[in-house]
C-alpha cells in the first residue's frame, strides 16, 4: 500500500490552517523528490476538532495533533524518510500524561463505534474512486441485482433504523407508506437543513463522505419508487454544498445517477436546493414549501408528505445521517446492524459534543452508551477544572439533564422519558458558570426568533415565556412565574402546528424540572448562583486587598473606577456595565476585585 499523508479538512481544521499544511507537505515532498512515492490528500472531518489541524500517516496510522507549518519538515524527516515519530506532536492524555502513537490508542476514539462515519477522515471526499475502493456503491449494485423494493424495506425493518433527524420514526415504516402510494411521480428529499445551534453532524458527514449519502438516497428512492431527489442543504454550509456538488457530478459521470443505473431499468436524478436561512425549514412540510419557492411555513398534517408532498406528489424526507447509514446496512446486513444498540434503538448515533469539555468534536457511539461514558471517557471530562452541571441534548427542542442522570443509557426512549429528546445530536456540556435560567432563555429566544408566526400558540406563547424569563433573570420575577411558565409551556406544546412549537418549551420545562432551585433563587433571593445574570451581580473592590495599582481603572471601558494611584479604588455602580474586565485584569497576587450576587448585590 502506498504511504499516504492525510490532513483533515473539515471546517474546524481548515480554520486552524490545514490548507497551508497540505500545500506545505506537497512542496516539501517535491523538494526531496518523494512526491511520486507518497500521496498527500485531504479528508473530511476526523472528529477530534479540538486537536486540529490533524495529520495522519498511513498505513501506520500515526496521529499528529495541532500540526503547524513549521512542523512539516520534521514530520517528513522522522516519519516518512525514517520510521520514527515526532514525539511532541503526538496526542498526550491529560490524565495519564502518556502519548499515543496512533489514533486507535486515544481514549477519544477507543470508546467510539464508527459505522456511518467510518470513511470520514479516511478518504478524500472529492474522489469517487476512493469511495468505491471502500466498497462504495456496492450496496446499490447489490440491491439492483438481487433485491426487490419490498426486500429493501424488509432489510431496513430488520435493522431497526429510526430516523436520525430527531423524532426517531422508524425509517422502514415511512418508506412503506410512500411505496404503497400509486403515483407516476414520487420524490425523495434529503434533509440537510441542520439548523440546531451546537450541531454539526450532518455537515461533517456531507463534507467527509458525500457519496455515502448519495448511495443511501439511491437505495431509498429505489425502495419507495422515486425517480427524482433533492438535497435541501443550509446555505451557511458552503463547503458541504461544494463537496456534494462535486460528488453528484462524479456519480453522474460514472452512470450511478441518471437513467438505467447499472444496466437496470431504474433511473434516479438528484438536485441540490440551498436553504436561505430559516430554522423552521427543517420541518418536513415547511421544507417542501421552501423547495416549491414559497415562504417556508408548515401546514397541518395529514395528509402526510408520504401521501401528498412536493407538488402534491408522494414524498419522503430523510435525514442525512439516516441516509448515510443505509449503504452500511445493505452491505453488512440488517441483522449485523440490529445487533448494535438497545432494544428500541438500534445501531449507532453521531453526536457533536461541545461546551465545557476537554475534547470537543464529532463522535459516533453505540445506542445505549451512558452519558457519563461520553462525557468522561470520550470527551475527557470537564475543561478548565470546572464542575459538571448539566448536559443539553437536542438543541432548542431538547432538554437539560442533571448530574444524577449521567448513567442514563442514551437512546430515543430514555431521553424522551427524561423530558429531553435525541434531537439531531448536539450535546452541549455546561459547568457551574452557566446559569440554567439564562440557558433556557437562550434557547427560547432562538425558538421565538425562528418561529414562522403561522400559529398563535408558538408565535405568542414563546414570546410570553421569553418575557417572563427576561423578568426572572433581571430579578423582577414573582413567585407565580414558575407555574405560569409551565402552564404556557404545556399549552404551546399541545397547541402548536409543527415540531418547532411543539418542542420549543422543552428547554424551559426541563430546567424547571431539574434546576427549580435556580429559578427560585433568582425570584426569591435575587441571586444567580452562576453569577451570569448581569442585573443580579455586582463587582466591588476589596479595601483590604487593593493596593491602588491602577490597572483596573486603566482597563475600565466606561471609566466607572476612580481612585488615585496607590490609594484604594472604588467602582461607581451607577456607571458600571458589569463587563468583568476589572475582575479579569486585577493581578492574581492581589485578587482585589470580588463578584457578588444575591442580597449583597442588591444592597449596592
Amino acid at each position: 500500500m502506498k504511504r499516504r499523508i492525510l490532513t483533515c479538512s473539515g471546517t474546524g481544521c481548515i480554520s486552524t490552517g490545514s490548507k497551508n499544511i497540505i500545500e506545505g507537505f506537497n512542496r516539501a515532498l517535491k523538494e526531496k523528490n518523494l512526491d511520486k512515492d507518497i500521496a498527500v490528500t485531504f479528508t473530511g472531518c476526523h472528529g477530534f476538532c479540538k486537536m486540529g489541524p490533524l495529520v495522519i500517516i498511513e498505513p501506520e496510522d500515526i496521529f499528529y495533533c495541532q500540526v503547524q507549518e513549521n512542523d512539516i519538515s520534521e514530520i517528513i524527516e522522522k516519519s516518512i524518510e525514517n520510521r520514527g515519530v515526532v514525539e511532541r506532536l503526538l496526542y498526550e492524555d491529560t490524565n495519564t500524561k502518556t502519548r499515543a502513537t496512533t489514533f486507535h490508542e486515544v481514549d477519544f476514539y477507543k470508546k467510539q463505534m464508527r459505522i456511518v462515519l467510518s470513511n470520514c477522515g479516511h478518504i478524500n471526499p472529492e474522489s469517487i474512486d476512493e469511495y468505491i475502493s471502500k466498497k462504495g456503491y456496492d450496496g446499490i449494485k447489490r440491491v439492483l441485482k438481487e433485491k426487490t423494493p419490498e426486500d429493501v424495506i424488509e432489510d431496513v425493518k430488520i435493522s431497526g433504523l429510526r430516523g436520525r433527524g430527531g423524532a426517531g420514526f422508524p425509517t422502514w415504516r415511512k418508506w412503506q407508506f410512500c411505496k404503497d402510494q400509486e403515483s407516476e411521480t414520487k420524490y425523495l428529499i434529503c434533509n440537510a437543513d441542520e439548523g440546531d445551534p451546537g450541531a454539526f453532524m450532518d455537515r461533517s458527514l456531507l463534507e467527509g463522505d458525500p457519496h455515502a449519502v448519495i448511495e443511501g438516497m439511491l437505495i431509498g428512492a429505489y425502495a419507495i419508487g422515486a425517480s427524482k431527489g433533492y438535497v435541501y442543504v443550509r446555505a451557511e454550509y458552503p463547503l458541504a454544498v461544494n463537496r456534494l456538488r462535486i460528488a453528484i457530478t462524479q456519480a453522474e459521470e460514472k452512470g450511478f445517477l441518471g437513467d438505467n443505473i447499472f444496466g437496470s431499468n431504474y433511473s434516479f436524478s438528484l438536485k441540490i436546493k440551498e436553504g436561505a436561512g430559516a430554522f423552521v425549514c427543517g420541518e418536513e412540510t415547511a421544507l417542501i414549501a421552501s423547495i416549491e419557492g414559497k415562504r417556508g411555513m408548515p401546514r397541518p398534517r395529514p395528509p402526510f408528505p408520504a401521501v401528498k408532498g412536493l407538488w402534491g406528489k408522494p414524498t419522503i424526507i430523510n435525514n442525512v445521517e439516516s441516509l448515510g447509514t443505509i449503504p452500511h446496512i445493505i452491505r453488512k446486513g440488517a441483522k449485523w446492524y440490529a445487533s448494535v444498540g438497545t432494544e428500541g434503538s438500534k445501531g449507532t448515533k453521531v453526536f457533536a459534543i461541545t461546551g465545557k469539555v476537554n475534547n470537543t468534536g464529532l463522535i459516533e457511539v453505540p445506542m445505549g452508551i451512558t452519558m457519563r461514558e461520553i462525557i468522561y471517557n470520550i470527551a475527557g471530562g470537564i475543561s478548565d477544572n470546572g464542575k459538571f452541571k448539566a448536559v443539553q441534548i437536542g438543541g432548542p427542542s431538547g432538554g437539560c439533564l442533571r448530574k444524577d442522570m449521567l448513567d442514563l443509557p442514551v437512546d430515543f426512549d430514555s431521553l424522551t422519558a427524561a423530558g429531553a429528546m435525541m434531537g439531531s445530536g448536539g450535546l452541549v456540556v455546561v459547568d457551574e458558570k452557566t446559569c440554567m435560567v439564562d440557558f433556557a432563555k437562550f434557547f427560547l429566544n432562538f425558538a421565538h426568533k425562528e418561529s414562522c408566526g403561522e400559529c398563535a400558540p408558538c408565535r405568542l406563547g414563546t414570546k410570553q415565556m421569553l418575557d417572563i424569563l427576561e423578568d426572572i433573570t433581571q430579578g423582577k420575577g414573582t413567585k407565580e412565574d414558575i407555574d405560569l411558565l409551565e402552564d404556557i409551556g404545556m399549552g404551546v406544546k399541545k397547541g402548536s402546528l409543527c415540531g418547532l412549537g411543539q418542542t420549543a418549551p422543552n428547554p424551559v420545562l426541563t430546567t424547571i424540572r431539574y434546576f427549580r432551585n435556580e429559578y427560585e433563587d433568582h425570584i426569591l433571593n435575587k441571586k444567580c448562583t452562576a453569577k451570569a445574570c448581569k442585573e443580579l451581580i455586582c463587582y466591588e473592590i476589596l479595601e483590604d486587598k487593593c493596593t491602588g495599582c491602577h490597572i483596573c481603572s486603566k482597563n475600565c471601558p466606561v471609566d466607572a473606577i476612580s481612585g488615585n494611584p496607590k490609594e484604594i479604588h472604588t467602582i461607581d455602580q451607577d456607571i458600571c456595565t458589569k463587563c468583568g474586565l476589572c475582575y479579569a485584569k486585577c493581578p492574581n497576587k492581589f485578587n482585589a476585585v470580588e463578584l457578588y450576587t444575591g442580597v449583597k448585590s442588591m444592597e449596592e
Binding site: A235, E236, A276, G277, G395
Partner: protein, 149 residues
C-alpha cells in the same frame, strides 16, 4: 432593465420554484436586493411583487440594503453562548461603533449575529468574510479588526 439582471435571468426559466435560487443569485451578484431588482424578478417570474417580497423577507439570508466591504458574523450558537459570545459581541459593537445588523458609516463593516456557524469546537467564534476566527477573547478583537481595511 439592468443589464446585470438580464445576464442572471438568462440561466433561469422563470418558474416559481426558481424564486429562491434567483433571489440568491441576484444577491450574490449585486450584493443586496434593491427595489429595482425585486421588480425585475417579479416581472421575470410573473409572481406578484408583494409575493416576491413575502418570500424574500421570510428568509434571514436576504438583505435589502447595501452591506459593508467586510461582513462580520458573530456566532451565538449554544457552544459560543456558554463560552461568553455576548461579551465578544459587545466588544465588537463598541470597537467599530455599530449595532447588530448595522453597517459602519464608512461602509467598511456590516455586523451580523448568527445562530450557528457550526465550528462549535472553536467557540467562541466569528467569521469575517471567509476567514474563521476561533477561541476568541475580548482582547483579541481590536487586533483582528485592524487586519481588515
Amino acid at each position: 432593465m439592468n443589464k446585470g439582471l438580464d445576464d442572471i435571468f438568462s440561466s433561469f426559466d422563470g418558474k416559481e420554484e426558481e424564486l429562491i435560487p434567483l433571489l440568491q443569485k441576484v444577491q450574490n451578484t449585486l450584493g443586496f436586493l434593491s427595489d429595482d431588482s425585486m421588480e425585475g424578478i417579479a416581472k421575470f417570474t410573473r409572481i406578484p411583487l408583494s409575493k416576491v417580497y413575502g418570500v424574500a423577507t421570510f428568509y434571514a439570508q436576504f438583505k435589502f440594503a447595501p452591506v459593508g466591504k467586510h461582513i462580520i458574523k458573530i456566532c451565538h450558537g449554544t457552544a459560543c453562548h456558554v463560552q461568553n459570545a455576548t461579551a465578544i459581541s459587545e466588544k465588537i459593537m463598541t470597537e467599530i461603533n455599530v449595532s447588530d445588523g448595522g453597517t459602519t458609516e464608512d461602509g467598511l463593516f456590516t455586523l451580523e449575529t448568527v445562530a450557528c456557524i457550526g465550528c462549535c469546537s472553536l467557540a467562541p467564534v466569528m467569521t469575517i468574510n471567509k476567514d474563521t476566527h476561533g477561541k476568541l477573547t475580548i482582547s483579541d478583537i481590536p487586533k483582528i479588526i485592524k487586519q481588515y481595511n
